[in-house]
C-alpha cells in the first residue's frame, strides 16, 4: 500500500488509515490490495509510478497554482467585448449561479424520481417555461448545444416526412453548417439557400427554386448568424408547407420577448441554444440545446432526447414525474442507433428555468427591447465611422450586426488587432467565412452594453482605421 508512510491522509480518500485497510482486507480474506489485481497480468502492470508533477495536496497550494494560471487570461470583464457569434455576453443573475452551484443539483446524476424528484420537477418546469416562450407544448431535456439541436431537429423532420434532403440558409454560420453536414451524412443531403445580398434575409426566389418533393425540411435561422431578423417567415412557411416539407426554425430564446415565436408563424420544429438564458460564456462551456414541437405523436415519437412529463402518484394531489413515451419504437430501421443521448447538459436546463422564472414576461420583453435599441444605436454609430459600412443596416436586428471596414483601407483583422490593443474585443472576423461581405466583422451588443461602451467602440474604431 502507498499509505503506510507518515503523510497525512488525502482529504478525498477516507479509507487510508492502515488499521482500516487491514480490517477490510481481513474481512475479504486478502493479505494485500495487490491480490485484488490478480486478473491483471504482470506484463501489463506498471512497474514505475506515473510520470506526473508533484502533488499539490494542500488546498491553499492548489488554489494558488490554478488561480495563477487562470490569471493569465484577460476576461470580458477586464476588456470591453463585442464578441458573440453563438456565445453571448448576457447578465447572469446571481440566483442562477446560486442554484446551479448548489451541491444537491451539482452532484446528483441519474436517479429515478424516487430519489431525484427535484431534478425531474425542475427540468419539467424548464421545459414548461420554454414552452411558453416558444408557444409549443413539447420541449426536450437539453441536448449538448444549439448546433446539435439543429442537426437533430433536421433528422427528426426527415424521419417524419420520410424525405431525404434538407435546405439550409447560408446565413446559418460556418460552425452550424459544418455540424449539420457532418451529422446528416450520409443519409440526408444538405442544399444551401443563399441570403439576399441587400437585406441579409433568405432569398425566397432561391428557396422556391430549390425546394422539391425530396425536401424533408427547411432550416430558417432568425436572427441569422449575421444578426438579421427574417421578416418574411410566413411566406417561407407557406412555401415550405406547400411543398409538403417541414419548417425547422433555429431561434435565439433571448429575443423571444420581442420576436414572435416560430410556432406563431407555423414552424413545425423550433430549436436553438439556451446559453443566453443564465449561462456564463465560460470559454464555450455554457451551451445546451433545445428542441420543441407541437404535441403530436408523430413528432413526439421522433425525439431522441428524454422528455419529462407530469403524472399522478398513489397519493391524491401529489405530482409525479417520469419519462414520456419512453419506448420510442418508431425510429426508422436505418436510423436505429443513429441518434443517441447520453449525459448532455441538464444543469443548464435547470439554470435556464431559473433565469426565465426571474425574468418573467416583462423581463423578457424589456430584455429584447433594450437589446434592439442598443444594437440600433450601435449600427448608427458604427455606420457613421468614415469608411465603415453596415451592409444590412435597414434590416431589423436584435443583438448582432455586420460591419464592413473595407472602406477604411484596413482589413478586418487589422481593425480588430488595433481595437485589442486598446482593450476592446471588437467582434468576430467574418472575412474568411463570408468573403462576399468584404472586410466584415460581426458585432454583438446586449443589455450589458452602455451608451458609453458603444460610443467608445465607435470612437476607437474610427481611431484605429483612420
Amino acid at each position: 500500500m502507498t499509505s503506510t508512510d507518515d503523510r497525512p491522509a488525502h482529504p478525498y480518500i477516507p479509507n487510508t488509515a492502515p488499521a482500516t485497510r487491514e480490517a477490510m482486507l481481513r474481512a475479504i480474506g486478502a493479505t494485500s490490495v495487490e491480490e485484488l489485481y490478480a486478473d491483471i497480468p504482470a506484463h501489463l502492470r506498471m512497474t514505475e509510478p506515473l510520470d506526473l508533477p508533484p502533488a499539490l495536496r494542500s488546498e491553499a497550494e492548489l488554489v494558488r497554482h490554478v488561480e495563477d494560471l487562470l490569471s493569465r487570461n484577460t476576461s470580458t470583464r477586464e476588456a470591453l467585448s463585442f464578441l458573440g457569434a453563438g456565445c453571448y455576453p448576457h447578465h447572469v443573475p446571481a440566483v442562477c449561479d446560486e442554484v446551479s452551484s448548489r451541491g444537491e443539483f451539482l452532484t446528483a446524476y441519474a436517479g429515478e424520481p424516487y430519489e431525484d424528484h427535484g431534478r425531474f420537477q425542475a427540468l419539467f418546469e424548464y421545459a414548461s417555461m420554454m414552452g411558453e416562450l416558444l408557444e409549443m407544448d413539447v420541449v426536450n431535456v437539453p441536448t449538448y448545444d444549439g448546433l446539435q439541436a439543429s442537426a437533430t431537429a433536421l433528422r427528426m423532420a426527415a424521419r417524419i416526412s420520410g424525405r431525404t434532403s434538407v435546405l439550409v440558409t447560408t446565413a446559418t454560420g460556418p460552425e452550424e453548417l459544418s455540424k449539420i453536414r457532418g451529422y446528416l451524412a450520409p443519409d440526408l443531403d444538405v442544399q444551401l439557400v443563399p441570403f439576399d445580398a441587400a437585406t441579409g434575409e433568405m432569398d425566397l426566389d432561391a428557396l422556391r427554386a430549390a425546394i422539391g418533393e425530396r425536401t424533408a425540411a427547411v432550416l430558417v435561422k432568425t436572427p441569422t448568424y449575421l444578426g438579421v431578423v427574417e421578416t418574411r417567415v410566413e411566406e417561407i412557411a407557406t412555401t415550405v408547407h406547400d411543398a409538403g416539407a417541414l419548417l425547422v426554425a433555429s431561434v435565439d430564446p433571448s429575443t423571444l420577448g420581442v420576436l414572435r415565436p416560430p410556432a406563431a408563424w407555423s414552424a413545425d420544429i423550433a430549436c436553438g441554444d439556451i446559453q443566453p438564458l443564465g449561462m456564463h460564456q465560460s470559454y464555450g462551456g455554457g451551451h445546451a440545446g433545445f428542441i420543441a414541437t407541437r404535441d403530436d405523436p408523430r413528432f413526439v415519437l421522433e425525439y431522441p432526447s428524454r422528455l419529462f412529463g407530469i403524472t399522478s402518484t398513489r397519493v391524491v394531489g401529489e405530482y409525479g414525474f417520469g419519462d414520456v413515451a419512453y419506448e420510442r419504437t418508431s425510429f426508422a430501421v436505418r436510423e436505429e442507433g443513429k441518434e443517441w443521448v447520453g449525459t448532455a447538459a441538464a444543469l443548464w436546463g435547470i439554470t435556464a428555468g431559473v433565469y426565465l422564472a426571474l425574468m418573467g414576461p416583462r423581463g423578457m420583453v424589456e430584455l429584447g427591447e433594450g437589446m434592439m435599441a442598443r444594437t440600433r444605436y450601435a449600427i448608427e454609430r458604427l455606420g457613421a465611422v468614415p469608411g465603415v459600412r453596415v451592409p444590412f443596416a435597414p434590416s431589423h436586428h436584435v443583438k448582432e450586426f455586420v460591419v464592413d471596414v473595407g472602406g477604411t483601407g484596413r482589413s478586418a483583422a487589422a481593425a480588430l488587432a488595433g481595437l485589442l490593443e486598446r482593450g476592446i474585443f471588437g467582434g468576430v472576423d467574418l472575412s474568411a467565412a463570408f468573403p462576399a461581405l468584404g472586410q466584415a466583422v460581426l458585432v454583438c451588443v446586449t443589455e450589458m452594453h452602455t451608451k458609453a461602451d458603444i460610443d467608445r467602440l465607435a470612437d476607437e474604431l474610427a481611431a484605429v482605421t483612420r
Binding site: 424516487y114 431522441p304 432526447s305 419512453y326 419506448e327 425510429f331 436505429e336 442507433g337 443521448v341
Partner: protein, 381 residues
C-alpha cells in the same frame, strides 16, 4: 384511456394434477395411467398449493378485483385457501379432472372477457389453454408442471402473482398494459419419458410483459423488442439475393421478415420465399428438400424456446438432408438482444438427429440482432 367502470376481472384455471409425476420421477402427468402410477407412488398434488402462493401476491387493498374460478380443485379451493371470495364458473364433470375440463373452463373465462387468465400447470396445460382461448385474452402461467418449456409461465408462483397484480393495477389505472407473444411448446411425453426431448412449437399465447417500474436512465430511446424484430427483418430482406429461395423457420422474429416482404407467415411452420414472393407455405421436410435441391437456397432461423435450440426443436422440418443441401454458409440466424439475454449465458444448441452434422454446426455463429448488428454466439450440440 379512461379507467374501466367495473372491477378488474381475473380468471383462474388450475390443472390440479400438474406436476404430479415429477416428484416420483415420471416426467409429466399426461395420461391417466401415469397419474395413477404417480398416486400409487405416493405423489401429492402441488398445483393447488402453488396457486395459493401466487394468489397471495394479489393486491387486495387498492384494486377492486373480481376473481372467476373453475370449481373445486380446478381453482375454487385455492382461491378460498388464499382467503379470497371467488365467483365459480361452471361445474365439474366427474371425480377426475381432464384436459377437456381445462379447455372448457378456460373458454368460459375468455367468453366472460377476463382481463387476465391465470392458469396453473405445465406445458400440457398451456397447450390446452392455447387451444381454448388462442389470443382472445391475455394469460399467464403459474408454473406447477414438470415440463416448463413454454414461455407463457412466470419464473415462480410468487412472480406470477406479482405480475398479475401489476396487470390489475394497470387496467384499473386505465394504462395500456404491455403484452408479448410467448411461445407454447409441447413435447411428446412418451419420448420425454425416454429422455428424448423433442419439443414442438404449437403456437403463441399473449402474456403480460414485465412491468416497467423505473426507467433505465442514460438510454432514453430504446427500441423495443418489436422494433428490434423489424430492424432485423430490414437487414435480412436487404441481404436477400435474387433467385435464391429463403426458407423461413418458425418464430415471431422471423414473422417480421415475412411482414417486411408483405407475405403471409405460418407462425409455427416453415415457409419459403423467393424474389420477395411466397413460394410455399407450411412445408414439410420432403417438400422443403425438393425446393432447396432445385436451386440456391438459404435458411433463416431463430432459437426456439428457453433452451436456445437453433435446429431440431420446433423446426424439425429443416432436417439434416435440408441442411446438407443448403450448406452452413447459407444459414442466417436471427435473434433479438432480448432473446439472447433470456438465454442467460447458455449457448445455442443443435440437435438435428445427425450427430456428425451437429458437430459441424458447433462453434461460433454470427447472429443478426438488428439492422447492421451482429452478435457472435456459441453453438453447442
Amino acid at each position: 384511456m379512461p379507467a374501466p367502470d367495473r372491477p378488474i376481472r381475473l380468471g383462474l384455471v388450475v390443472n390440479p394434477i400438474a406436476g404430479i409425476g415429477g416428484r416420483v420421477g415420471l416426467k409429466g402427468s399426461d395420461g391417466e395411467e401415469v397419474v395413477l402410477r404417480a398416486l400409487a407412488l405416493g405423489a401429492a398434488p402441488e398445483a393447488g398449493a402453488r396457486t395459493v402462493r401466487a394468489l397471495e401476491r394479489l393486491d387486495r387493498g387498492t384494486t377492486r378485483l373480481e376473481l372467476l374460478v373453475a370449481p373445486g380443485p380446478m381453482g375454487e379451493d385455492a382461491a378460498r385457501a388464499a382467503g379470497l371470495a371467488p365467483l365459480v364458473v361452471g361445474e365439474l364433470g366427474g371425480d377426475r379432472t381432464t384436459a377437456e375440463d381445462t379447455r372448457r373452463f378456460a373458454a368460459a373465462m375468455a367468453e366472460r372477457g377476463v382481463d387476465l387468465l391465470l392458469f396453473t400447470g405445465g406445458d400440457g396445460t398451456a397447450v390446452d389453454v392455447l387451444a381454448a382461448v388462442g389470443d382472445a385474452v391475455p394469460v399467464l402461467g403459474v408454473p406447477a408442471g414438470v415440463k416448463i418449456h413454454s414461455a407463457a409461465f412466470a419464473v415462480s408462483p410468487e412472480a406470477a402473482g406479482t405480475l398479475a397484480a401489476w396487470v390489475a393495477r394497470d387496467v384499473a389505472a386505465g394504462a395500456r398494459a404491455g403484452f408479448r407473444e410467448a411461445e407454447v411448446l409441447d413435447l411428446d411425453e412418451d419420448d420425454y419419458r425416454r429422455g428424448q426431448i423433442v419439443p414442438r412449437l404449437v403456437g403463441y399465447l399473449r402474456v403480460p410483459r414485465e412491468p416497467r417500474l423505473v426507467q433505465a436512465r442514460k438510454a432514453p430511446s430504446p427500441a423495443g423488442e418489436d422494433a428490434a424484430a423489424r430492424a432485423i427483418a430490414a437487414d435480412v430482406v436487404e441481404g436477400m439475393e435474387p433467385d435464391r429461395a429463403y426458407v423461413l423457420g418458425p418464430g415471431t422474429t422471423i414473422r417480421a421478415v415475412a411482414e417486411r416482404l408483405g407475405v403471409p407467415k405460418t407462425l409455427v411452420g416453415v415457409d419459403v420465399v423467393r424474389d420477395g414472393r411466397l413460394l410455399a407455405a407450411d412445408v414439410g421436410e420432403d417438400a422443403l428438400l425438393a425446393i432447396v435441391e432445385e436451386g440456391p437456397a438459404a435458411l433463416v432461423v431463430t432459437p426456439i424456446g428457453g433452451q436456445g435450440f437453433v435446429f431440431g426443436r420446433g423446426n424439425q422440418q429443416i432436417g439434416p438432408r435440408v441442411l446438407h443441401a443448403v450448406g452452413r454458409e447459407h444459414v442466417v440466424v436471427v435473434a433479438t438482444p432480448w432473446k439472447l439475454a433470456s438465454l442467460a449465458g447458455m449457448p445455442f444448441r443443435v440437435d438435428t438427429g445427425d450427430p456428425r452434422l451437429d458437430a459441424r454446426l458447433t462453434g461460433h455463429v454470427l447472429v443478426t440482432t438488428g439492422y447492421g448488428d451482429r452478435a457472435v454466439y456459441r453453438i453447442e450440440a
